[in-house]
């Protein structure tokens, strides 16, 4: 079946078997390897991208069901050719704060963090928000709760939290 997508600013028109997940389409057919296959069951978050601006798991999405979607991976978050100055502010923050060890979960962490801060800016509450009707704040507790869908087996959570905290303060 035919699927048209925008992937990191590139127009893509491909024929896929309906069984193909969005993750497999990106990695195996389009050579977009920033999203990673960790658990492939929606439990680890390493396949996270921004889909129409929202953080989204690609392992639990059929490619045929995403026709017309605009996808931005961690690679597409960077502004241009490789180089430190072209990195997204969240990517620079992860570098500054050692928000990774092996790096496998990192592209998913970064996409998730960017999407999460947009949700915060839109006033979305979370499980730990004390008042459902008040504007939420980017406290450490809120960041931890909102990032619970991204696991890091190296345990780099201290650096991940520091990186996201810095980005939240910079964008506040």
């Amino acid at each position: 079946m035919s699927v048209q997508l925008s992937v990191d600013g590139r127009r893509v028109d491909v024929n896929v078997d309906p069984r193909t997940t969005l993750l497999d389409l990106l990695r195996e057919r389009l050579d977009v390897i920033a999203p990673k296959k960790g658990c492939d069951h929606g439990q680890c978050g390493s396949c996270t991208v921004l889909l129409d601006g929202r953080r989204h798991l690609t392992c639990l999405a059929l490619a045929v069901a995403q026709d017309g979607a605009e996808i931005v991976t961690a690679e597409g978050l960077a502004g241009g050719p490789d180089g430190e100055h072209d990195l997204h502010a969240m990517q620079r923050a992860f570098l500054e704060h050692d928000g990774y060890q092996c790096g496998y979960c990192t592209p998913g962490q970064i996409c998730s963090a960017v999407g999460m801060l947009a949700e915060l800016a839109d006033g979305h509450p979370s499980h730990v928000s004390p008042d459902l009707t008040a504007a939420p704040k980017a406290t450490d507790e809120e960041i931890r709760e909102r990032m619970s869908g991204n696991l890091c087996r190296c345990g780099a959570y201290v650096g991940i939290l520091a990186a996201i905290r810095q980005s939240a303060q910079a964008s506040a």
Binding site: L57, L60, P130, S148
Partner: protein
Amino acid sequence: MRPFAYHRPADPAEAVALVAADPAASFLGGGTNLVDHLKLGVTRPGTLVDVTGLGLDTVEQTDASLRIGTNVRNSDLAAHPALRAGWPAVSRALLAGASGQIRNQATTGGNLLQRTRCVYFQDVTTPCNKRESGSGCSAIGGYGRYNAVLGASGQCVATHPSDLAVALAALDAVVVVLGPDGERRIPATELHRLPEEHPEHDTTLRHGELITAVELPSSPLAARSTYQKARDRASYAFALVSAAVGLDLDEDGTVRDVRIAWGGVAHKPWRATRAEDALRGEQPTEDAVRAAVDIELTGANTDDQSAYKLPMVRATTTYAVHRLLEGSR
């Protein structure tokens, strides 16, 4: 993954007709549970009918109710200002479930129709009456920590995993369904069923019936409601047990009306009507809530692995009432 045909109709009646005409067809919503089951081989549909192109994705408020389209995503619903103000238990239940990514993908109707996370149901190498009728139940006498303690049968001891469904059962929600013969309205408490001799059926829906909307009636109970969940880790885990509670008090602090529903204890969200009856007209003290919970738990069946759920239900319900009395929601 077995091959399947894929359709994405734009009209609800067409979607219903496609599934109703084909016993091997399934609806596909956000896919967060079904796509995983396709990979695991838990379900093997011949045709998927994607309903996310049908619209049905708005929240409409009237004086008397909130009408939620089936395709409203869990994150958007949880953040909806009207829901947060008028039905906080529903917002809290959604926020207590899954992860940020999954809440962006999962739909309202899909959340209600997710399947049990019983480890044997998801493991195709083991017998499971829910997955394969008549094959046996591996959870009876097996790993039993997540098993039901109310309303189970000799065929199945699975629990329903949805947090949303528990809040809907507590707050008298109505599920609107479109079928081949037209529309019907089902009280949320009657959407899911007990396993009895047919655990392969989670709900009372007929094949081809599509959830199109959920309606929440306005009430003082709904506006003063909350959801309390106990789980193995602080976030991103299914409920061991949970409680949705709505409370309406007289001027002297006695209970004018109350709603209590539990998750993690049964094959369906368990509406604790006997506990509600016991609390009406009483002061909602910790002792009174515990006593009311115990009346409801009279019929509970536990073993060494699941016995912990009873004190946990008591504590969770008591804490939910305590939070409501404190003014938090």
